[in-house]
């Protein structure tokens, strides 16, 4: 056990979270081992990103560099992007297609599953040097990960103790993945944000429907406010993963005025865009859900906001920094008009998103203060204390407590078996 990183949880229902978890480098290190390399399924990418034999994509699980690979027989594989010789990064390109992986440092050569297939000068030169006779290539692969997919979304795990993917995702998450990925997708592009805050502040943010109508005032400003509409919060059995959604509906000006009457910033106006094309929409789903934010902790957010669809891969880079890597996609059979709608509506999300640019600003502001004073705890009581359960309304912080309850469990687990065996 690592006593230094033990976390004192002030309340058993996780209505309090110590600021220390956002800044302590020991906790960060332990998270990499017990969570990201522990019994979780980590997001690696979409099958649409590596469609052909030989295709690969480099990515990260936690802060560990990874290669996601489509092998020659069409299977998927993933392994740590780290040479088994003396540790160099083997694949430096973000994407590519190749028949083998060759480390530039001393030319160790690996197959597409990361198994070592050759080393230069194995028998030495002119009878001199070379590797010992019992040197066994099969003992030196790039560290592999188990891979599983769900409707074209690829996950991997380093741990043998991880439950089956569907169990890990949870019933509700599977249902909403079925909804979103009901047909093949195509990638429209990538966006990246370099955010100077702890990765968990962002995880809290995407499990926090409380802030949506308060921090993001785009809808209110342009007379599109709909936070009064119906929505729900669903969680996995583990409470680690969540889905928040709301049903689109007509703008109710009276209700909006009533709810915002003490808010200086909100001045109700009529629907007021110079160019309403921004919100011209062709619904992809018959259920009327305008907004769906799914968090598959700890590595990915999957979203649908109107016609925008994206995964957001959370890549920690230390206690006070993470990269948010957005993969924006449409459906493979989209016509030209629908693609244009998706590209225009992309203005809603990402680092310049009308309803998302505030999020990283908020998490950075919290981080700045947590660094200065890491004593004390946050307060998470909107929606009540005690039992953590699904909700048929949105103004709540309950899914945040759900995340912390499972986080605490994972952090308390002793190191996984395969770590100890190394």
């Amino acid at each position: 056990m690592n006593a230094i990183a033990d976390i004192d949880w002030p309340s058993s229902d996780f209505t309090r979270v110590p600021y220390r978890v956002f800044v302590d480098p020991e906790i960060y290190k332990l998270e990499q081992e017990r969570i990201f390399r522990g019994p979780i399924w980590a997001y690696l990418g979409l099958e649409a990103e590596v469609p052909n034999p030989g295709d690969y994509k480099t990515t990260f699980v936690g802060d560990t560099p990874m290669v996601l690979q489509r092998t020659m027989d069409g299977e998927l594989a993933a392994f740590e992007n780290r040479c088994a010789h003396r540790g160099a990064i083997v694949r430096r390109e973000p994407f590519g297609n190749d028949t083998e992986h060759r480390c530039v440092y001393h030319q160790w050569c690996y197959d597409l599953k990361g198994a070592l297939t050759g080393v230069p000068f194995r028998r030495g030169v002119q009878g001199k040097g070379g590797y010992p006779k019992d040197f066994d290539l099969s003992k030196h692969p790039m560290r592999p990960m188990r891979v599983a997919t769900y409707n074209g979304v690829i996950f991997g795990t380093f741990s043998d103790a991880t439950p089956p993917l569907k169990t890990f995702l949870g019933t509700s998450i599977c249902a909403y993945l079925d909804r979103l990925f009901h047909k093949p997708v195509k990638v429209l592009g990538y966006l990246r944000q370099d955010i100077k805050s702890n990765w968990k502040l962002y995880t809290e943010n995407v499990k926090d429907p409380y802030h949506a109508g308060l921090l993001h005032l785009f809808h209110a400003t342009f007379g599109l406010y709909r936070s009064t509409q119906k929505g729900a919060v669903l969680m996995s059995e583990s409470k680690f993963n969540s889905v928040l959604y709301n049903i689109g509906g007509n703008y109710d000006k009276d209700l909006a005025e009533e709810n915002y009457k003490n808010q200086k910033k909100y001045v109700p106006t009529d629907y007021d865009l110079y160019d309403p094309q921004l919100l011209a929409s062709r619904p992809d789903f018959p259920d009327g859900i305008a907004n769906m934010i799914m968090c598959i902790a700890p590595t990915v957010v999957v979203q649908q906001i109107m016609n925008t669809m994206a995964t957001r891969n959370i890549r920690p880079k230390g206690p006070g920094q993470f990269e948010l890597f957005w993969t924006y996609f449409g459906f493979a059979d989209d016509d030209e008009e629908l693609t244009q709608i998706r590209l225009t509506q992309a203005n809603l999300i990402g680092p310049s998103g009308y309803i998302s640019m505030e999020d990283s600003e908020a998490t950075e502001m919290v981080q700045d203060n947590a660094v200065v004073r890491s004593t004390g705890d946050t307060v998470i009581e909107m929606g009540g204390r005690g039992e953590i359960h699904d909700l048929d309304y949105l103004i709540s912080e309950m899914p945040i407590r759900g995340f912390w309850s499972h986080y605490a469990k994972l952090m308390a687990e002793p190191p996984a078996l395969q770590e100890a065996a190394e």
Binding site: Q193, L217, Y274, L343, T344, P351, S352, S360, E361
Partner: protein, 168 residues
């Protein structure tokens, strides 16, 4: 050919280069001086504006960080920045250089230039925010004025520090 004859095309080249450069500088100063409401007026009514991550450009993917297909969309962006969005308080500084006119037609010009954007926070600390390249189609209007028909800002700094609010 006399010296005067040889100098004539050179002179008109210099004048055009000067006019284009002044236009690009005025655009940059508009943003630096926080005159966001004037920013859409640099564009033609029918226009395109997009900030394109270089990694998308390399892969031939169309997704922009921020884009507009009409002047109205540019105005909506300004209104949202002024009234709705919350972002890092800062002063931007746009530095434009390497201005090259690649093609010159009677009604339009193709121009590329480099852009560097610094941000200075409210405590006066400056950081490099972004480097990139403007790829412009400038329309030559009656009376000689220039308007942007299309501006794609390809950004090398596609790992965007925090967020991108003020246009580039």
């Amino acid at each position: 050919m006399s010296l005067a004859e040889a100098a004539a095309p050179l002179e008109s080249d210099l004048l055009l280069q000067h006019q284009v450069t002044q236009f690009l500088y005025a655009y940059a100063r508009c943003l630096d001086e926080d005159r966001l409401e004037d920013w859409p007026t640099f564009f033609d009514d029918a226009c395109f504006y997009g900030i394109l991550p270089r990694e998308n450009a390399v892969k031939g993917l169309p997704l922009c960080v921020l884009s507009a297909r009409t002047q109205g969309m540019l105005k909506d962006r300004v209104k949202s920045l002024r009234e709705a969005n919350i972002y890092n308080l800062h002063y931007p500084r746009h530095v434009v250089s390497n201005v090259e006119i690649l093609a010159c037609r009677s009604d339009s010009l193709d121009v590329v230039s480099n852009v560097t954007v610094y941000q200075t926070d409210m405590e006066g600390r400056t950081t490099l925010f972004c480097v990139g390249q403007y790829n412009d189609r400038l329309n030559r209007k009656d009376g000689g004025a220039l308007k942007i028909g299309s501006r794609t800002v390809t950004i090398d700094t596609y790992n965007i520090p925090n967020l991108l609010a003020i246009p580039i």
